[in-house]
C-alpha cells in the first residue's frame, strides 16, 4: 500500500511542475487569451536590482504573465466564476438579465448617470452649427450620427441594481431636445434602432457583443447612404442585400464581449443574420471624399466596404486620435493639418456611440471652430 502512496505522491509532485515543464518544452497547445493586457518581460538579474528589491516582484509578475499555461488557468477561473456566480472577470463587463452582456459605461449613459451637462451640450451644438455653416460655404457637408448604445437597445436586460437610482436625463435626451430645429445635419440612429426593434428578422445588437450586429450595421449603412443621397443630393452608389447567412456560430464582432470574458465554453447566443451586400457599381455614380471621425462602431461599416464602395478616399480618424487612411496604415491625427484635411473632403461624418455623446466629434468640432473663427 505504501508503494502505491509513494507513486501517487511522486505523481502529485511532478504534477506541480507541469506549468514549468510546459514553459520549457511546450507539450500542450493552449488557446491564447483574447483582449488587451500587458505581458511584462522577464527582468534582468543584477545584484543591485536584487538588493534594491526590484528584481523579485518584477520576476513574480513576469513569471505569472509569461506562463504558457496561463490562458488555460485564466479561462478555468473565468468559467467557474461565470458558471457558478454569474460573474464576469473582464474590465467593466456587466452580466445583465438572461445573460445579456453590457459594458458598464453604456448602462450609465443610457440611465443618465454619467453626469450630463446641458450647458456644454448647447455650446457644442452652437459650435457645430457654426462649423457646418462654414463647411457649407465651401460646398462641404457635416453629418452627425447618433449611434445607440447596447444598453439603450436592450434596456429591459439591465440588471436591477443599476435601476435603483432611476433613469435621469441622459445626453440623448438633451440631443433629442436641442438637435431638432437646430439646422444641424444628423441621423438619430438610436431612435431609428429603437423603432425597428422587434420588427427586424435579426437583432440589431448581439447578445454578447458591444457593437451593433452585422444586420444592425447594414441598416445604419443604408440610412447613411440614403441621407447622403437625398439630403445632400449626392448621387452615391446604393446598396442591396443579396442574401442573409444564418450560421450557427456568431461572426465578426457579434461575440466581442463574450470573447473578452475568456471562457472555456461559448455562451448561448441569439440567431444572428449576416447580410451579403452588393454595392451599385455604376460608374456614373458619385463617390465623395468622406472623412469619418468616430469610435469602433465604424469598423463594422468599413468591414462591409462602405468606404471602399460608396466613398472615395477611405479616411477614418479613430477617436480623432489615430488616422487610418487606405490601405489603413496607422498614423496619429495631426491637428496642424486639419485645414488641409478638411479642404480635401466633401463630407465630414461625426459618428458617436451613446457612451461618447458627451464628446461628439471628440475634439474635431472645437478644432474646426477655432480654425474658422480665426478667419481661416
Amino acid at each position: 500500500m505504501d508503494k502505491v502512496k509513494k507513486y501517487l505522491f511522486a505523481l502529485l509532485l511532478i504534477g506541480l511542475l507541469i506549468p514549468a515543464i510546459q514553459n520549457r518544452i511546450k507539450f500542450m497547445n493552449v488557446k491564447p487569451l483574447y483582449g488587451s493586457f500587458n505581458v511584462e518581460a522577464l527582468p534582468k538579474y543584477s545584484w543591485s536590482s536584487w538588493f534594491l528589491g526590484t528584481f523579485q516582484p518584477a520576476l513574480e509578475v513576469a513569471l505569472d504573465q509569461n506562463m504558457l499555461i496561463r490562458p488555460a488557468f485564466v479561462r478555468l477561473n473565468n468559467q467557474l466564476n461565470y458558471s457558478l456566480f454569474n460573474l464576469a472577470n473582464a474590465k467593466s463587463v456587466v452580466i445583465g438579465k438572461e445573460g445579456y452582456l453590457f459594458e458598464e459605461g453604456y448602462i450609465n449613459s443610457y440611465l443618465g448617470h454619467d453626469g450630463v451637462n446641458e450647458g456644454a451640450i448647447k455650446l457644442k451644438i452652437e459650435k457645430a452649427k457654426y462649423v457646418q455653416r462654414e463647411l457649407e460655404k465651401r460646398g462641404k457637408h457635416l453629418l452627425i450620427l447618433l449611434v445607440p448604445g447596447k444598453a439603450s437597445y436592450y434596456s429591459e436586460y439591465i440588471p436591477d441594481r443599476y435601476l435603483s437610482e432611476g433613469k435621469k436625463t441622459s445626453y440623448y435626451d438633451l440631443f433629442s431636445k436641442h438637435l431638432p430645429g437646430s439646422g444641424l445635419n444628423y441621423i438619430d440612429l438610436k431612435g431609428y434602432f429603437l423603432k425597428m426593434k422587434n420588427k427586424t428578422p435579426f437583432p440589431l445588437y448581439p447578445k454578447q457583443g458591444v457593437h451593433w450586429s452585422s444586420y444592425g450595421a447594414t441598416l445604419a449603412m443604408d440610412s447613411i447612404i440614403n441621407y447622403i443621397k437625398y439630403d445632400f443630393k449626392i448621387d452615391v452608389p446604393t446598396m442591396t442585400i443579396n442574401e442573409i447567412d444564418t450560421p450557427i456560430e456568431t461572426r465578426d464582432s457579434d461575440y466581442d464581449i463574450g470573447d473578452g470574458m475568456n471562457l472555456i465554453l461559448k455562451m448561448s447566443h441569439n440567431q444572428m443574420g449576416y447580410p451579403k451586400i452588393k454595392f451599385d457599381t455604376d460608374t456614373n455614380k458619385i463617390r465623395p471624399n468622406v472623412l469619418t471621425i468616430g469610435d469602433s462602431h465604424f469598423w463594422t461599416l468599413i468591414g462591409f466596404g462602405l468606404n471602399k464602395n460608396v466613398f472615395k478616399n477611405n479616411a477614418f480618424w479613430y477617436y480623432n486620435k489615430i488616422a487610418y487612411v487606405a490601405p489603413y496604415k496607422e498614423a496619429p491625427v495631426n491637428p496642424y493639418n486639419l485645414r488641409k484635411e478638411i479642404d480635401s473632403q466633401d463630407i465630414i461624418i461625426l459618428l458617436q456611440t451613446e457612451v461618447y455623446y458627451n464628446n461628439i466629434g471628440m475634439g474635431f468640432i472645437e478644432s474646426a471652430y477655432s480654425l474658422y473663427k480665426n478667419n481661416w
Binding site: 513574480e60 506562463m67 466564476n81
Partner: protein, 474 residues
C-alpha cells in the same frame, strides 16, 4: 514570496521538495536552511544579513548561557533578550515612537526628532519570539541548546513558519531539527500536502473573496455608510482574517509535515468561543501560549496575591500582545479591548455566560470579537470609532452598493465552516481529516479533490492581482 503565488507554488515549492527528498539525510537540514534563506531574502534582501548576524551572536550567547551559572547566566540571558527585543524595537517600533514624540512636542511648538522611516522587515515579530523562546528555554534548562549553528539557523529561519507562524517554541521542535527520520513517512508527506492544499483553498477561495469586499467597504468614509453595510463589512473582514491566517497556518503545518516536522496547531474553531478567555485558547494558539509561558507566568500568572495584580498582569499581557501585532494605537487599543474583556470574564462575565447558555454567549463573544476587529482593520482610532458608531447607529437608509454572488457564497461557506465546529460530529470530522491516517481509497479520493482545488486556486491566483496576506504586516 508568499505561499499563494505562482512562483512559490509552481517553482519554489516543488523544486525544494524534489531536491530535499533526493538528498542524503545529512544534507537535508542544509538544503532546508538554504531554501529558507533564499525564501526570506526574496522579500528582505538586505535585512537577511541583520538576521544572520543576530543568529550568529545568539547562538554563541546562548551556548554561553548554557555553560554559565549563577549571576553570569542571568546577565547573559538579559543580554540576549535585550539584543532581540532591541532589534524588534528598532525595526518595528521606532517609527511609531518618533511619530508620537514629534506629535507631542509639536504641541509645544518645539522641533521634533529628525527621522528617516525604517521599513518593517517581514516576519520580525515571529522570529523574535522564536529567538526569545530559544534563549529562555535554554536558560530554564528546558532543553539543551543546538550544537550546530546551522541547526539553530534552521530553527529560526525554517521557511514554512518564518513569516506568519505558527510560533514554534524551541523545546517543541529542537529534537525534530536534529533528527526527524521517523517522521518522514509517506503518510506524513501525503497528509502534509493535503493540509497545504486545504490552507491554500481557505486563503485563495474564501479569504481573498471576502477581503476584496471588506477592503471596498473600509475604503469608504464610515460616516456615509449605513448600518447593514457596516456590519457586512466587518463580517467580511472577520472571516477574511480567520480564513487568511488559519489558511496560512495550515499551509505552514502542511509543508512542515511533508518534510518531517510536527508543528503545533494554531487555530481551533475560534468563532465558537463562549467567552474571550476561550477565544484566546482557540485563536492564534501559539501566540497565546507564548505570552502565557514567557510573559504572563513570569509576571506571577494566576498565583498573585491580589486580584488587582492579576488584572494588571492580564491587562499588560494583552496590551503587549496588541503592540506585538503592530506599532499603532489601533493595535494597542485592540489588545486592551481584549484584555478588558478577559478581566471582565474573571469579574462577572463567565458566570453571566453560564446563566444565559451556550448560543447567546457564543453570539455575544462573536460580536465582541467583531468590534475588536474594527480596530484591527482601520488605520486610525477616528476611523475605528466612526465605523463602530455606524454599526450601532441603526441607520437603515438606502445605500447603493452591490455584492456579487461569489461574495455571498463564500460568506455563507465561511459562516458554515466557522460555526459548525461547535458540533461534536463536525469536530470529529475535522480531526478525521487533519490528523488520522488515511486508507489507500481515501488517499486516492482526497488526492483527486486536492488536485482539483489546487488547480482552481492557481487559476484564481494567476487570474487576479488581488492576493494580499494580512499577517505579513506583523
Amino acid at each position: 514570496m508568499v505561499f499563494s503565488s505562482s512562483l512559490f507554488l509552481l517553482y519554489f515549492f516543488p523544486l525544494f521538495l524534489i531536491i530535499y527528498y533526493l538528498a542524503d539525510v545529512k544534507y537535508k537540514n542544509n538544503i532546508a536552511l538554504f531554501a529558507s534563506i533564499l525564501f526570506f531574502s526574496w522579500g528582505a534582501p538586505l535585512f537577511i544579513f541583520v538576521v544572520l548576524g543576530s543568529i550568529l551572536i545568539d547562538f554563541f550567547l546562548v551556548q554561553k548561557i548554557y555553560s554559565s551559572e549563577g549571576k553570569m547566566r542571568k546577565q547573559l540571558l538579559f543580554l540576549s533578550v535585550l539584543l532581540n527585543l532591541g532589534l524588534l524595537a528598532y525595526f518595528k517600533y521606532s517609527n511609531f515612537f518618533v511619530e508620537n514624540i514629534n506629535a507631542l512636542v509639536a504641541n509645544w511648538c518645539a522641533h521634533g526628532i529628525a527621522w528617516t522611516s525604517i521599513a518593517l522587515p517581514i516576519g520580525i515579530s515571529f522570529f523574535t519570539f522564536k529567538k526569545l523562546s530559544y534563549c529562555i528555554d535554554v536558560y530554564r534548562n528546558t532543553h539543551k541548546p543546538f550544537t550546530k549553528i546551522t541547526d539553530y539557523g534552521l530553527f529560526i529561519l525554517l521557511f514554512p513558519e518564518l513569516i506568519a507562524g505558527p510560533i514554534v517554541r524551541f523545546n517543541e521542535i529542537a529534537d525534530q531539527i536534529v533528527d526527524r527520520k521517523n517522521q518522514e513517512t509517506i503518510d506524513n508527506k501525503l497528509l502534509g500536502l493535503f493540509r497545504f492544499v486545504i490552507g491554500l483553498s481557505k486563503k485563495v477561495l474564501i479569504a481573498n473573496v471576502l477581503g476584496a469586499e471588506a477592503d471596498k467597504i473600509f475604503a469608504l468614509d464610515a460616516n456615509t455608510l449605513n448600518t447593514p453595510v457596516a456590519w457586512i463589512g466587518i463580517l467580511a473582514y472577520t472571516f477574511q482574517i480567520y480564513f487568511d491566517f488559519s489558511g496560512y497556518s495550515d499551509m505552514a503545518i502542511g509543508i512542515a509535515r511533508m518534510i518531517g516536522f510536527k508543528f503545533p496547531e494554531n487555530f481551533d474553531n475560534p468563532y465558537i468561543s463562549q467567552s474571550i478567555t476561550e477565544f484566546w485558547r482557540r485563536w492564534h494558539i501559539t501566540l497565546g501560549r507564548w505570552m502565557r509561558d514567557y510573559l504572563y507566568i513570569p509576571l506571577g500568572g494566576n498565583k498573585v496575591k491580589s486580584k488587582a495584580r492579576l488584572y494588571f498582569n492580564l491587562g499588560l499581557v494583552f496590551l503587549l500582545s496588541g503592540l506585538w501585532h503592530g506599532a499603532s494605537w489601533n493595535f494597542i487599543v485592540w489588545g486592551c479591548f481584549h484584555g478588558l474583556f478577559l478581566i471582565a470574564d474573571r469579574v462577572f462575565l463567565l458566570s453571566f455566560y453560564e446563566k444565559i447558555g451556550r448560543i447567546p454567549s457564543t453570539i455575544i463573544t462573536f460580536i465582541v470579537v467583531m468590534i475588536g476587529w474594527v480596530f484591527f482593520k482601520t488605520e486610525t482610532l477616528t476611523q475605528a470609532t466612526a465605523f463602530i458608531k455606524k454599526m450601532f447607529s441603526f441607520d437603515f437608509s438606502s445605500y447603493n452598493i452591490y455584492f456579487e454572488m461569489n461574495f455571498w457564497t463564500m460568506l455563507f461557506l465561511a459562516i458554515l465552516f466557522s460555526f459548525t465546529g461547535g458540533f461534536a460530529r463536525v469536530v470529529r470530522m475535522q480531526e478525521n481529516v487533519l490528523f488520522l491516517e488515511y486508507s489507500l481509497r481515501r488517499v486516492l479520493i482526497t488526492s483527486v479533490i486536492c488536485v482539483m482545488l489546487f488547480i482552481i486556486c492557481e487559476a484564481a491566483i494567476t487570474s487576479s492581482g488581488f492576493n494580499p496576506f494580512i499577517y505579513y504586516r506583523f
